[in-house]
């Protein structure tokens, strides 16, 4: 342990601590921008400079504590220099905060408030930057906001192993750009959106589709329906000051009804459907020597990743569409029939924790009647914006129930939102379908939690089934490497592109503290526990759907509506 003094207060901390961490122990918040507790130390922004015993300035984020150190964090010298750095950042930052998606939720803005800076102290606001990159369906990069902290670069490389962002040029031309300065839409970007959440300012954000939703709601000729992903209900409360993990399903339904949606449905329903289809597909592969391991296909960021980086392994992917797209297909066929509406008159809106879902919905193969199945995808954050816009008091609005016929879901569908959830849901069904026996213990705790790669074994009939779960594409790529060289020891693998699974998706509220993800996960399992049915194949609405419309899993109709195919994103030139 190391003993030091910060602002004349003694503190004893482990020797691995930095000054920044030691100050936190004393409840002193040294200003930071490039620093993020989940990332490596960069030392780029220089806002965390503090004064040492020799009256020198040293960076708090990258300087380790040492015995007898005396640190001052709040002298005139320190404040003036921190302010100087802040003003230099601002001088090359688009200060039109009102137009910014992060207005009110911006780390730079917070610091300006702290330092009482209301306007750039330099005469001109000289912004030298690339033009805004709007080259794709999902993510916008606004270079005029970028403060070059490098957090997005680290996430893209170290966490996601996508590696498409890089520092380019030097001096004032220094920028963070997609590799070879291509527009994002022409890169291998998988649109996971993790860069959006790690960005301290508004330099990266999802393409905003809220206007499209409002227009559809306004259009009387349209029947507008919504589906809500499993992860949204445990996170959107954070946008309205609720604790992470607050379960707000009823409030979400009520808010959507008030916004004017004709029907509000639950994506958990099609999550159950996915389990039936995917579980049956797995059993089929197992029994008929199909390609194993089979890998889940619900996460569109993951699909983009494998299509871009390992097209040779595409046979391993389940052919199942994601729950969003299964819902979309059913909404334009089964539901349209049932309601007696022409599919073109139904506008299907998805509310997703995900940015890549925007891209997925626009894939040409995702159309069951000649046009796209899911018309608009908005993120959890955009949904919150709509709720605020409508003046709905989210915290107090009275709970309402989902509509029929896609309103009933099992606990298995609910846990899709957390890493390991799809695997657990699948095992619950696969076991019972294969053995015809009831599972005694339906909680598969080995596949839960935030460990990067999780493994489990389950004895089904006389076979030991080995499964693995990975979340975050960096972890996923490790399992993928084994698959590529034919050395994967598993039968079934679940992969989610984002850390924590969908609850940590790129479209989620920006996590305010490191334990947010964990709290959301706990809430998801709470939803599961409280359900009448906890296995997908027990969901009566699913049974009804098969009876009325689909016939059987992997049947003719399912094949057309609920399954898809994959192809290399960047076919090799011949």
């Amino acid at each position: 342990m190391i003993q030091l003094k910060i602002d004349n207060k003694e503190v004893t901390v482990p020797k691995t601590y930095t000054i920044l961490q030691a100050a936190k122990e004393l409840h002193i918040n040294i200003p930071t921008l490039c620093y993020h507790p989940a990332q490596g130390i960069k030392g780029n922004c220089r806002i965390c400079m503090v004064q040492d015993g020799h009256d020198r300035l040293i960076p708090a984020c990258s300087t380790k504590v040492s015995d007898g150190m005396t640190i001052l964090t709040n002298t005139k010298f320190v404040r003036e220099m921190q302010r100087g750095v802040l003003e230099l950042i601002l001088a090359n930052h688009d200060q039109d905060c009102l137009k910014c998606v992060r207005n009110g939720k911006c780390e730079l803005q917070d610091l300006c408030e702290r330092f009482n800076i209301s306007k750039n102290s330099f005469e001109e606001n000289q912004i030298s930057a690339h033009k805004k990159d709007k080259s794709n369906q999902a993510i916008v990069r606004d270079y005029s906001k970028c403060i070059k902290c490098g957090r997005c670069v680290e996430t893209c490389s170290s966490v996601q192993n996508v590696n498409i962002l890089a520092f380019a040029n030097r001096s004032t031309a220094y920028e963070i750009v997609p590799n070879f300065d291509r527009p994002l839409g022409e890169t291998e970007c998988v649109y996971c959106g993790q860069c959006i959440k790690i960005c301290p300012v508004g330099a990266i954000y999802e393409k905003n589709d809220t206007e499209q939703v409002l227009d559809a709601l306004e259009d009387e000729s349209l029947h507008v329906i919504a589906q809500i992903a499993p992860a949204v209900r445990v996170s959107i409360g954070e946008e309205f000051g609720l604790e992470p993990g607050a379960v707000t399903t009823g409030k979400i339904v009520a808010s959507l009804k008030r916004l004017g949606f004709d029907r509000v449905f639950d994506t958990n329903f099609t999550a159950d459907l996915t389990i039936l289809e995917e579980g049956t597909e797995f059993i089929d592969r197992l029994k008929n020597d199909g390609v194993l391991p089979m890998i889940t296909s619900c996460s569109p960021g993951w699909i983009n990743y494998i299509e871009g980086f390992a097209p040779e392994a595409l046979d391993h992917l389940s052919t199942c569409k994601s729950p969003q797209q299964m819902f979309g297909a059913l909404s334009k066929t089964y539901y349209a029939d049932k309601e007696g509406l022409h599919p073109s008159k139904i506008h299907t809106v998805s509310i997703m924790p995900c940015v890549a879902k925007k891209f997925e919905a626009k894939r040409p193969e995702m159309s069951s009647f000649g046009s796209i199945d899911v018309d608009t995808v908005i993120t959890t954050r955009e949904f919150a914006q709509l709720i605020r816009l409508a003046g709905i008091d989210f915290e107090r609005v009275e709970d309402e129930e989902f509509d029929e016929p896609f309103g009933i879901a099992s606990g298995a569908g609910a846990i899709f939102g957390a890493t390991g959830g799809v695997m657990e849901a699948a095992l619950r069904t696969v076991y019972e379908v294969m053995t015809g026996e009831l599972l005694d213990q339906i909680d598969f705790k080995e596949v839960r939690g935030l460990e990067g790669i999780k493994e489990a074994e389950i004895q089904i009939e006389n076979k030991v089934i080995k499964v693995a779960v990975a979340h975050g594409l960096g972890n996923a790529s490790k399992l993928l490497e084994q698959v590529k060289v034919g050395k994967s020891p598993y039968h079934f693998i679940e992969i989610m592109a984002c850390t924590g699974g969908c609850i940590g998706g790129g479209g989620q509220p920006i996590e305010k503290s490191p334990d947010t993800i964990q709290k959301r996960i706990e809430a998801i399992y709470q939803v599961d526990c409280n359900k009448d049915f906890r296995k997908s194949h027990e969901n009566p609405a699913i049974k009804q759907l098969y009876e009325e419309f689909l016939g059987q899993p992997l049947g003719e109709r399912s094949h057309h509506l609920l399954h898809t195919h994959y192809k290399a994103r960047f076919p090799k030139e011949k």
Partner: protein, 428 residues
């Protein structure tokens, strides 16, 4: 006291760059032999007596650096000779590499021996492409004569040297950027701690020394530290290779004992100022050094005397500007240089340069206001105290010294004096 004293440069013009036999006749490899025979502690002791300090500009005592490095245990270690001589006004390493390459190589071998490395690199700036070629030739001769790649002087010490070409970035003269560059990445500085001595090239301890430092090591061991230390001053023993440039009659590289005054250097060694003009200012230690007004040139050229007045030896560059130069024009050229060379990594250096360059140009165009001086000073201070590496920290040095010594020149260029309420001296 002699005004010039050739120790480090003793072999200049005495042999062709690849004439190893002649180099041996001149005492070549005696230093290495002595090091191997008497051991690392002897070398470190000699360097302590001679008190050679890092000649790249940092001025850190070489013996200390080597003593720490010598003790460090590792599976593998590397030594690097930093020949990325990018400091404007500095060209002494170029002369050493051209005129006495074997002495530098010998110094590298001694550093490898003491540090415990069997592999060395010499990082030569891209602009010295022709020297890279001659140096490679010298290395080839060394291999033929079995000084490299074979045990030397009956010991088991085997050493190999590889030439590495820089790619044209000033910041790569900074050790950690240099290592980044060698590893194939963009030359940008690393977070200090671990320093490269602990974790350098490919993660192994790496001892980086300047060309002149290494030549100095060879020299000290060859002639003996005591003899070397008879020259110079008490606190700056021995000699220094300096580069005199600018408005002098005989610009060039000279070796002087420490303690000679700047006046003697300029007038007696470099032939004085062209057409007998008055000296307006000097810039010492390269473009990252401060400006010294012409009336201060009676200061002795030594670490301690210069430091006392807020100056430093730095790389050994002495740039002389006569009265025909405007301070502001000079500052703009300094600013342009750093504007071009900032790596962009940290805010103060990148954004500070952007603002400073813009503000300085206002003085040139006559649109500056009084308050701009204050803004310049504020930005310069922010850069000095908060930048990530030495580049950003020293980029505003010339500017801050100019504000200290030549404030009226700024004031005379302010376009709208009435509007500004800030009087001279208020910002001091």
């Amino acid at each position: 006291m002699n005004r010039v004293q050739a120790f480090i440069t003793a072999n200049f013009d005495c042999y062709e760059y690849n004439d190893i036999d002649r180099y041996i006749e001149l005492g070549g490899f005696e230093a290495l032999k002595k090091a191997i025979e008497k051991g690392s502690d002897y070398v470190i002791d000699e360097l302590r007596t001679a008190d050679i300090k890092g000649r790249g500009g940092a001025g850190y005592p070489t013996w200390k650096k080597w003593a720490i490095g010598h003790k460090r245990q590792a599976e593998k270690k590397y030594v690097v000779c930093n020949a990325d001589e990018g400091e404007p006004g500095t060209f002494k390493d170029r002369e050493l590499l051209k005129k006495d390459p074997f002495k530098v190589i010998e110094g590298m071998m001694i550093s490898g021996f003491v540090f415990g490395a069997s592999k060395g690199f010499i990082y030569i700036r891209e602009e010295y492409a022709y020297i890279q070629e001659t140096f490679k030739e010298a290395l080839e001769v060394m291999r033929e004569k079995k000084y490299l790649g074979h045990p030397v002087f009956g010991s088991d010490f085997v050493f190999e040297i590889e030439v590495f070409s820089g790619a044209g970035a000033y910041v790569c003269g900074e050790n950690s950027s240099l290592i980044e560059s060698m590893e194939g990445r963009v030359g940008r500085p690393r977070i200090k701690s671990p320093r490269v001595g602990e974790k350098g090239y490919l993660g192994y301890p790496t001892l980086v020394n300047n060309v002149e430092t290494l030549a100095g090591v060879t020299t000290v061991l060859l002639i003996g530290a005591e003899r070397y230390a008879q020259y110079g001053t008490q606190e700056s023993p021995g000699t220094k290779v300096i580069c005199v440039s600018g408005n002098v009659k005989n610009p060039g590289v000279y070796e002087i004992p420490f303690g000679v005054t700047l006046r003697e250097i300029i007038y007696d060694i470099a032939g004085g100022v062209e057409e007998g003009r008055r000296i307006k200012f000097l810039q010492l230690g390269g473009i990252s050094g401060p400006l010294m007004p012409g009336n201060m040139i009676d200061i002795g050229y030594s670490y301690e005397a210069l430091e006392q007045e807020g100056f430093s030896v730095g790389s050994g560059s002495i740039l002389v500007a006569d009265e025909t130069n405007r301070v502001i024009d000079f500052l703009v050229s300094v600013s342009d240089f750093f504007y071009h060379e900032s790596c962009g990594k940290c805010v103060p250096c990148r954004e500070g340069k952007r603002q400073l360059t813009r503000l300085l140009k206002k003085f040139v165009s006559g649109t500056a206001k009084g308050k701009d001086i204050k803004t310049i000073e504020k930005i310069a201070h922010t850069m000095k105290y908060t930048s990530f590496c030495g580049l950003g920290q020293t980029a505003p040095t010339a500017l801050l010294s100019a504000i200290k010594y030549f404030l009226p020149e700024f004031w005379n260029l302010v376009g709208d004096k009435e509007v500004s309420r800030i009087g001279e001296g208020e910002w001091k």
